[in-house]
Symmetry: C2
Subunit: 108 residues, 2 copies
DNA sequence: TTCTCACATAAGTAAACGGTTATATAATAT
DNA sequence: ATATTATATAACCGTTTACTTATGTGAGAA
């Protein structure tokens, strides 16, 4: 019972389009915040706050390198979350849908 | 992109503990509203409203039989929702966790 | 008919949510 | 040292959420 409410809490992270997009992108590779700001159409603080929620529940981890902070999927993403992410479009699809050219890495 | 926001909208239905419990119960058999009211610990209108949301998004269907309305999982539950429900506790586990004796059917 | 039971709908409310702008911090570049 | 860039945090705000109580509706029982 506890368990089912915990699951609901984590699933809440997937219940917002912006966050589900972020997770789908991260499924393929790491992204730094400025890339996500460029891709998603909300403000930088908006992106930061979504990332904070995702991190606080252990779905993503951050890696600070110089000026940038790179986010990637945590290895601890529970199976019921992973199973959903298998059904979301991949980053290539998302990026072309948004008319963003597919960058390979780094903001520089 | 459209697609990802649609998925997020349906996942929102799983992001509440009460609704996730309802769906997990329905995975095993149909339940009438009064059974759900007895099991879950919220008011009857509260249960009705959750069921309305679940129905409006096509996750459950209703079957009126006499005085009662029986709800069951829709056959149209999309795969990414089904895959989550494979990880939730079954109705037996939920009922014993809540100290409700396992009824086999009907309110009568 | 009248009462009761099962359910739905309406209206109200406190809290959470998802965004914004403004500001702080920390690293790099000049 | 100063400016610029990347990110985080704070404060605010309108909307949505998940409940509640009160009331409506429709079926079966008396």
């Amino acid at each position: 019972m506890e368990q089912i409410y915990e699951m609901a809490d984590k699933l809440k992270l997937l219940s917002d389009g912006t966050r589900l997009t972020i997770l789908s992108l991260l499924r393929d590779r790491e992204f730094c915040v400025c890339e996500l700001v460029d891709i998603l159409e909300i403000s930088q603080p908006g992106v930061s706050q979504h990332l904070r929620k995702l991190k606080s529940q252990g779905l993503v981890k951050e890696d600070k390198r110089g000026q940038w902070v790179y986010y990637s999927l945590s290895v601890d993403v529970p199976p019921y979350i992973r199973s959903v992410l298998e059904y979301t479009p991949n980053s290539k699809t998302i990026l072309t849908a948004l008319n963003k050219k597919e960058i390979t890495s780094v903001c520089e």
